[in-house]
Symmetry: D2
């Protein structure tokens, strides 16, 4: 059985593991105040081209989203997100449990636009009973999105502008950021993200680390007291240096983008193979998530040898599913799947 | 200027005020443990035909909704409601501030159906990552809804059944309950509500009282410790007897339904007048809220003499607005408006 | 049975009731945006000698405390209060339910001092793991306190200074403010409170109104968006004008202080009578709450004719109890109690 | 510089690291539903002698405490803890941020007693306004406590009994459980804990793992839906198998207790050396935390070569500090410190 259902089926990249092994006996202070965290933060600031950025390391995505949002909002404020946004559907109400409403917008392939944000803000401002509704104060986007799509430079700039106009914070969830930045059609880079977003994070869990997300804060308002929130939301790892060590490995020699490119390249090959075998994509993208629409009978057969995840029913006999590649995907496995797809196509 | 924009423009019904005046010098214990509250609760239990019901008095609607929902749910559970439900749009995120997600469903004239609830529950149960999503545990409906519509006996029974099947609580927001029960096409009554709902409330604020909502709980699980929650959510009035006194007045001689009928009768007259003047209804109903669609120019003229509230834009030159009647509406005022509508129709 | 157990056993002062009656048929807009609220706010601003103050009207004390505190604090911040403070003991954890820790300090007769606040702040600042502890951001005091005591001018100034030094908000709970301002030994007045506190409230529920608390905000940071919080916490009364009307009555002719003086004068008489009868005070004060320490046997006898509330056990045969006077207390009733105390004293 | 300030200065035990390395390339499903977690849970159930226990793996202590408490309590309920309990002082108000009050009791060397719990419950039950106070529903204890002390068999049984009597859950925080179970004067074992507690956890972070806490639930009420809460509170690690793998290593050959004994043995030696050098203990215990009281001048000198943490001021010239040993402490380092203490003693 070969697993393609997500991008966290394996442990970590060997170079990350090596560094964990090598630093294991070291004595350091706890809670992220050690030298590895300091060095990793420095490498990230450098990669972002801005040495005033605050960089913090948290353990996982739900925790990071909750911490950033709860730290930023007052109790009457909410966060705008796509209906399909991770915080709106797949975090067991973590944002609401911290007291805040997710203001969900219709999505286009997982994305939302500046004009949708403007429209919601205008409605709020002109509502005679605006104080009876949640005040929008933050925009949450993910890049890549839950559908594998990415924002263009222009789209992100427009979101930045609309947020500035209406006094909103822009927060980008980069749980899979590497796979976005490494995509064939990507227009973004870290310095651009640091300029456009008030806060974003660079996902490690899905991109080569055992776990860990690096939060990058450019807005001074959000920098203040952030470590209190990390602690309160359970994200302050006692042995914080584990996070620093992993991000050192990922950022000291360009490993983060290098392994992301590997995943995207294999995803492109797989996507092509699905299409050539006659299985169209639910959503087009060039990152590591692939969403073919396939006959249920074919899926059943494929499911004997390959793990993938169910996305949604398309019609009575077809479903969309998700295959993921990652930094850990072996080319021999994608080759085998490609060969099987060809075989299946001929059989159908 | 005659105000029709809501059903809380005036104080309270003279018989309620009289009773407040008469009992004003009495000494009673506080926090709803007095004899007026006991007697009012008894009257409501009797009207509901069930002497095992728990009856509590709270001050206002947002408070009541938050208290009932927060008392019923554990932190990983959410409440299903229509997209247009009051708790989803007009309580400044009070439910989320208490830690719970509102699981919004598409509405039909403000209503949701048993089949929609079943579908959501089935999706939750069959989701491979169901523990990553909020567990549905309560259904919130309002009757009349925010669009003035009411549930039929069959619809409510179906909701009751679906809730029982999936282990959900059924909660009916009766902020305007009187206007529902008194409507020409109403099929419901209090005993039926007490059987179908785990908890519902009888609105006083909008139906003759200065303020106050009577929560009626039939499900034993929800009865337990409910007064702690009233106190915690700020709903335990020090002079709780004020609530008891008002509900005594409303329920000792059938005043509650009597004044509701008055409002619905005038609403029917007004609705008819709007239609005859050529202004169609956004939503059809027989309760005290009226939603005519009118040319913006006509609205501007009408706005000089009458207060009404803006509902939504219909097209470039037309908007839907809301006129409300209430227990306090004077027939001379509706007559005047009807005459003006006739005049406007001729002018157009 | 004559009730002395609290200061909310009766309805409202006749002049308040008269005004409610008189304005009952009026049509006004809802949610506190009517002219009565505007006028009442103006009267309070004038009484405080500062026309830049924001004044809002809420229904009850728990609600007001929760709303003010939740509006002011970010999620990692807590509120300092006396161990005996109302928010720490008698609000069913309402502050914690809004997400904030009450940082309790030892009290002296219900009061806390500037030096205690400074000490806590210093400890926080010098704690190596300060980010692992709640950040103090507000000081909550009540005046009169839960023990009937009041702050001197010097004590309040010192609290104001220490709050300014450490960047804390000073919040004064004035649920019984009138009885403090009217006390024989009082040194404070409204203009002084408005200068010293970032926010305080003038209690109506216990001082002549049916219900209602007037929140007075002097700090601009706390003024921003406050109405959203009122709505979210369930304190925005639909018929908000009821609050305005009552505070108009209380503040247009000095009624608020006049009726407070009445209560304090009778309390002084009662206190004197207790002492002369040989029953010492648990706590000395000159406001409307009286805390005699009495033999349990005497309390049992007294309990047949008078309602009072239990405070605490003093020794095996003595307890401290609480008698309250209020704006509504009849002199014939205090006279009767005084006579009975004399009789009891002779009997003992 | 040799660090003794805490028990999480190093990475993980070599046998844990070895297993992480060995399993690193494996493909498994995520979120703790893999075979390593299943096997580790089985080993723990076996060690506890009860195969009906639910076992879950979370990342860290604050997260575990918040998740367990928030999952167990309804919104009007609070958790009883020692004033010095970790949840009351060192989690940045995480429990309050989840909506619950910590009901703090005076401690004796970090411990609380059954009689204190009974007294608090009796007070609550007999309070005329009990609904105005938080309902106690859980008792939180730590073993070892924050002062390194441990509960006797009799003390824990008494707590179990009192909890059963008053309908409270008993929750034991075992962040340092190994060091308690391995202490010279320990009377407890895992089966006894599983019988006495409704829920407890076995700390990995401080006892040989990189991170991770194993929650053991015996009460069926608390088992229900627990994974939703793990996800909501950010504790569901994507690569959950990392937790399983580490607890396999700790529990398959008795490693957990073996390395705990090592730490306690060195702590006993150090403690003896402090005392012989004339430095008394602030609190007596036999676990891995040592609290000597020392002259400030000596501490300054010692601080040049050794890391330790500040505990509290004892008098003008003396402070109590904390030295910790752990599974990772090298005997050569404790020997060196012992030698230095002898030298310092002679110098003083």
């Amino acid at each position: 059985m070969i697993l393609f259902q997500c991008d966290y089926n394996e442990g970590c990249h060997p170079r990350v593991m090596e560094k964990l092994l090598e630093t294991n006996p070291e004595q350091t202070v706890g809670y992220g105040e050690d030298e590895h965290c300091a060095r990793a933060a420095g490498l990230i600031r450098k990669a972002c081209g801005d040495d005033t950025l605050a960089v913090h390391f948290l353990v996982g995505g739900t925790q990071t989203n909750t911490t950033v949002i709860a730290a930023a909002l007052r109790s009457h404020q909410g966060v705008i997100a796509a209906q399909t946004g991770h915080i709106n559907v797949h975090e067991t109400g973590a944002i609401e449990a911290s007291g805040h409403k997710v203001l969900a917008l219709a999505h286009r392939d997982g994305k939302i636009s500046a004009s949708q944000v403007a429209e919601l803000c205008e409605m709020h401002l002109h509502d005679a009973s605006f104080e009876h509704t949640v005040q929008p104060k933050m925009v949450y986007i993910s890049n890549p999105t839950e559908y594998g799509t990415i924002y263009t430079r222009k789209e992100l700039e427009a979101l930045h502008e609309v947020c500035r106009s209406y006094g909103l914070y822009l927060f980008l969830d980069g749980a899979r950021l590497g796979y976005g930045l490494a995509a064939a059609d990507n227009e973004l880079d870290l310095p651009f993200l640091a300029r456009c977003c008030d806060v974003f994070y660079i996902g490690g869990t899905k991109v080569g680390a055992l776990f860990g997300e690096a939060v990058v804060i450019s807005n001074d308002e959000l920098k203040k007291d952030f470590r209190y929130h990390i602690k309160q939301r359970g994200g302050m790892l006692a042995k914080g240096r584990l996070l620093g060590v992993q991000f050192e490995a990922l950022f000291e020699d360009g490993l983060y983008l290098e392994i992301s490119r590997h995943a995207d390249r294999l995803a492109d090959q797989l996507r092509e193979a699905f299409k050539q075998a006659g299985f169209p994509m639910l959503v087009e993208s060039r990152t590591n998530q692939i969403f073919p629409v396939m006959p249920d009978a074919v899926l059943e057969e494929l499911g004997r040898d390959y793990g993938f995840s169910y996305q949604e029913r398309v019609d009575e006999t077809h479903s969309a599913v998700r295959f993921c590649t990652s930094w850990a995907t072996k080319e021999e496995n994608t080759d085998r799947l490609i060969a099987d797809l060809k075989r299946l196509a001929q059989a159908v």
